[in-house]
Symmetry: C2
Subunit: 304 residues, 2 copies
């Protein structure tokens, strides 16, 4: 099966601690790497995860709080030192370019590649990137500043031809493209071989949704519905539910509510407040609502 995995580089909140780095993760789809958020030290976490810097293709920044973007300058600077030549695309709120450009012009003069900023609207759900392997859609979130999550959908694959049937009916090569697209085959003597006899369905496309940072927000449910894996922030335990409301974050239980209502296959919690020395308190509270829940952790590589 083609590669589709999520590497957690950091899943803490606010400030780095001895337990967790600020938010960053890498979604690997086939040969391309997409970074989601880039808190301080993401470049070193990337290196530790043995991911290939040269395969990093695009960066998606959910919102402009420091714990989600302070690692960008260091990463970009290192990519320059590594001799990167292909442009790097950063999808983010429109303000990011103005904040980074002075530093890019100053510190990265000698880089052999450009940073291309691709601003998106955090209030619309829209496709902001698409290639042959993947489609990325924004998920408007509810936070203290404009903020969006991202849904990664693997592109549907063509069905696999059944080699033995093709040989049995002696189907010419030139017909095979049509059959992959759904055509039946008509033999020389007029017999119709239905498409379903000739192909084996491809595996259903997989999907991943990333939602951080956000208050509890049922409006995202239609957008994250049925994903294989939902990463949802779970900054607080229920005891801090009022604090979650005030700071526009979610409790673990609320993350689980979204997962349940969205009928997702699996939920991953993250963006933990540093007040919990053991994040299992969050895991347990979420599991009461949605049992198929796991905790994000630095170094975790989750295959979809």
């Amino acid at each position: 099966m083609d590669r589709f995995e999520v590497n957690i580089l950091g899943c803490g909140s606010a400030s780095p601690t001895l337990q967790h780095y600020p938010t960053s993760q890498v979604v690997s789809v086939r040969e391309k790497l997409f970074m989601v958020d880039c808190g301080e030290n993401s470049q070193l976490q990337f290196r530790k995860s043995k991911l290939s810097f040269s395969k990093l293709s695009r960066i998606f920044i959910s919102h402009l709080h420091g714990d989600h973007c302070f690692g960008l300058m260091g990463l970009i600077s290192t990519l320059g030192l590594l001799g990167r030549t292909s442009n790097l695309y950063i999808h983010a709120h429109a303000d990011l370019e103005g904040l980074l450009r002075p530093q890019l012009d100053y510190f990265c003069r000698e880089n052999s590649f450009e940073i291309i900023f691709e601003p998106f609207s955090p209030v619309l759900s829209e496709v902001i990137y698409e290639d042959r392997s993947v489609r990325v859609t924004t998920i408007p979130l509810k936070h203290r500043v404009p903020c969006a999550g991202f849904r990664f959908d693997e592109q549907p694959k063509e069905p696999n031809l059944k080699r033995d049937m093709l040989e049995f009916y002696n189907i010419p090569l030139r017909m095979r493209g049509e059959i992959k697209k759904g055509a039946d085959y008509i033999t020389e003597d007029g017999q119709v071989i239905p498409n379903s006899h000739l192909v084996r369905s491809a595996e259903p496309p997989r999907s991943y949704a990333y939602c951080s940072d956000t208050a509890y927000n049922e409006k995202i449910i239609p957008i994250i519905e049925n994903v294989n894996l939902l990463y949802h922030e779970a900054t607080f335990a229920e005891k801090e539910a009022m604090r979650a409301v005030k700071t526009m974050h979610s409790t673990a239980r609320q993350a689980a509510e979204i997962a349940k209502q969205g009928n997702v296959k699996e939920l991953m919690l993250g963006h933990y407040s540093s007040r919990y020395p053991d994040n299992r308190i969050l895991l347990n509270e979420a599991k009461e609502v949605f049992p198929n829940t796991i905790l994000a952790n630095e170094g975790l590589c989750k295959k979809l």
Copy 2:
């Protein structure tokens, strides 16, 4: 003895690696902490070293290369989250303010303290900070961009009064200040008690010089002369001597030459190129010229 120590937070060069973080260190003089350079992840290294964020008083930035300053935004942001109220002074090249100000205004709006930039000239050696405990002098260095090191001098202390002699001669309290400043004492019957009988010399003031990044530069010798500890960059081994010239860095042997000619008590090497899996190659080359040499390493706390 009053505290005077150097904590190494990072001593690598260019990009963080699995061995070394980018450059940052903390000079502790009595109750105040002075940070020297602030590469990415310095705030977490600071936390790991169990230093007190509230005692951080000033930051000195040697030059505007990313591996010496990309940690500033994260650190300042965390100080804000910790509720700091006292202003933070940053001594650096004049360009730094223009580079940081847009991000400070955007990300640190809610901070309850100000960042005060104190630009210095990197071509002059001058006192840029002084208080009752310490005096900081710039050391013009030779690098690809304007760059200065810093010399920290403990302020001379007044001598200690010999309690038994004061009692023996029954010297009134009001005279003691004068005696500490060097006065002799004349008894009621006209006998002159020389100052040296009444006081014990204070320990000689200690000093630390930080020199990174720089090409071999004998001009710094009069400025770093006789320090208790010299930190000198040693990016390369002798095999890469030509590369050192080209990139305006030093070899470990050159660092040792400066230490020897400067008659310093001890030399600490740092700013290692990532090409050396074992930095002892640098240590050994330096020791051939200046035996009293040690290697900087993350977590090292060197007491002066």
